[in-house]
């Protein structure tokens, strides 16, 4: 847990990084609902290379958040297998991080203290800890808001603070659940570029759920397209373009059309996206 990689150091040679591989095989997840079991994820198989950026898209309710929760170990009740570098996932760990769909900053702590939460169980000397916090606040453009409380931030700012918190302890694998969903279009494009830069520098394996196909393609080495009820992988699209990418690339546009076609392939008469479960927090 005492990984002292320099934060703004030279780009890590991704090929040389051998840790941060995620292997998911035969993964199924059922929830008991009103006495009967409901299959949310069915036979998911996915192998993610160390340092890879995988985007996940799919209709609402197809189990994307569930999948991320399983990967980070918040939920350990599943069939099949999830391995991080050959160790079976059996709970949470500092080497796996998650940016929640809702920001989940502690309302009783300032933004800086919230970022510090991620470093509490890292053995860092005090001054270095302070530096990591201020560097990460700067990274997401919140340098002036370290002393603000979450309720004093806009939705987008809170989400950026949550990203700073997740990045601060430099996990090997970072899962992101629609991290930019609350951002306005302009900030969104900016943070996407930031995220890409951070990812390229840190070499973290990233798995990001998004509803935005452009975003999925701009950032992902691969885009996993899921289909609902039960949640399955419908298709995996390789985005064979080097980073950093040009948004105007014709390849991205062609792939976007393909993915959109996939997502709207079979018309579903009872659209599950309209079903909501009162009382269950999103994410």
């Amino acid at each position: 847990m005492t990984d002292h990689r320099p934060l703004r150091g030279p780009a890590t040679d991704k090929a040389a990084r051998r840790t941060g591989a995620v292997r998911i095989s035969g993964l199924s997840k059922r929830y008991a609902m009103g006495g009967k079991a409901m299959t949310v994820l069915d036979d998911i198989n996915l192998s993610i290379r160390p340092g890879e950026f995988v985007s996940i898209v799919g209709p609402s309710g197809c189990g994307k958040s569930t999948l991320l929760r399983l990967i980070v170990g918040l939920d350990t009740d599943y069939d099949g297998e999830i391995r991080l570098d050959d160790t079976r996932v059996a709970g949470t760990g500092l080497e796996r991080g998650l940016v929640f769909q809702d920001h989940r900053l502690f309302p009783w702590m300032t933004v800086a203290k919230n970022v510090e939460v991620a470093l509490l169980n890292q053995k860092l000397p005090r001054d270095r800890r302070e530096r990591v916090i201020s560097e990460h606040l700067a990274l997401v453009g919140l340098s002036d808001f370290g002393d603000a409380y979450p309720h004093q931030l806009s939705g987008g700012m809170a989400q950026r603070a949550a990203i700073a918190r997740a990045l601060a302890n430099e996990p090997k694998v970072l899962a992101l659940d629609e991290p930019l969903g609350a951002l306005d279009a302009l900030t969104r494009v900016k943070v996407q570029a930031e995220l890409q830069r951070i990812w390229m520098e840190a070499g973290t394996t990233m798995i990001m759920v998004t509803h935005d196909v452009d975003e999925a393609l701009f950032l992902g080495d691969r885009v996993v397209v899921m289909s609902p009820r039960p949640g399955r992988i419908a298709r995996i699209v390789d985005v064979d373009l080097p980073h950093p990418r040009d948004r105007a690339s014709p390849l991205l546009h062609r792939l976007k059309d393909e993915i959109l076609a996939e997502l709207t392939r079979e018309p579903r008469e009872d659209d599950g996206t309209l079903v909501t479960f009162p009382g269950r927090p999103r994410g």
Binding site: G97, F100, R104, F106, P107, W108, N121, P150, H151
Partner: protein
């Protein structure tokens, strides 16, 4: 302008009552006894202020209420945290507390008088008990209602049990704990005057009220009543300020 209007409105009703009072007091001698003329009340007030009697009794009551709040509130918070965190303790202690709470504070009076006499210790015990209930119940409720969403963040960052307690359970319970303390403050103040009225031994506004009633000094009774009301109100307002200051992380709508 709007503030001025609402201020005038707030004063209108008391002014009306005072007018009616003064009118009653002029309806003959019998009336003047029950409704001491305003002028006489004012005179007694100034007199009590000048000879330090008011300060003595008000100070004694205030000290009693705050000491009891400290004792009962502290025990209440500790007990609330303990029963809020431990199922076993909750099962053992909570039913007893719930049953005891059904007995009004003054219902304990005969027993307490029998065991401890009617000295300051007995008074303090009863007032502390009145401060204990709201703190223990609210603290317990607060500790039990930890939001799963935040607990998950703790799990993600490998929080130890003590870290979860200090950084999640305690702060998220704080608003309810403050609600408990502010209720305890109000109850302690009421109970203080109550036990002073019934155990008239040492200084206190309640004791003075009782003595004034026996001496047929309605004017002094009224000065004490007004003093109790104003002090209770002020305590409440001061605590509300403190609460806002300490819970400044809360969005304004939650206050």
């Amino acid at each position: 302008m709007k503030r001025l209007a609402s201020f005038a409105l707030a004063l209108a009703f008391p002014a009306l009552v005072l007018g009616w009072w003064e009118w009653e007091s002029r309806q003959g001698l019998g009336h003047a006894y029950a409704f001491a003329p305003l002028e006489q009340i004012a005179r007694s007030f100034l007199e009590m202020l000048a000879d330090g009697r008011l300060a003595l009794h008000a100070g004694a009551s205030l000290q009693r209420a705050l000491t009891a709040l400290l004792i009962g509130g502290t025990i209440g918070i500790v007990a609330g945290v303990a029963t809020g965190l431990s199922r076993v303790l909750d099962r053992t202690a909570s039913p007893l507390i719930t049953v005891m709470r059904q007995v009004p504070i003054l219902g304990w009076l005969p027993l307490v008088a029998l065991w401890f006499g009617n000295g300051d210790g007995a008074k303090l015990l009863l007032v502390s008990l009145s401060a204990f209930y709201p703190t223990v119940l609210n603290t317990q409720k607060g500790m039990q209602a930890i939001e799963q969403r935040y607990a998950e963040v703790g799990r993600l960052y490998g929080f130890t049990r003590s870290q979860s307690l200090r950084m999640i359970a305690w702060p998220s319970a704080l608003p309810l704990i403050f609600t408990g303390i502010s209720q305890a403050l109000a109850f302690a103040w009421i109970a203080t005057i109550g036990v002073e009225l019934l155990f008239s031994a040492s200084a206190g506004l309640g004791t003075e009220m009782m003595a004034a009633q026996v001496a047929a000094r309605t004017d002094i009774v009224l000065v004490c009543v007004a003093c109790v009301g104003v002090m209770g109100f002020t305590l409440n307002q001061l605590f509300a300020l403190l609460r806002t200051r300490l819970l400044r992380w809360q969005p304004a709508t939650a206050k």
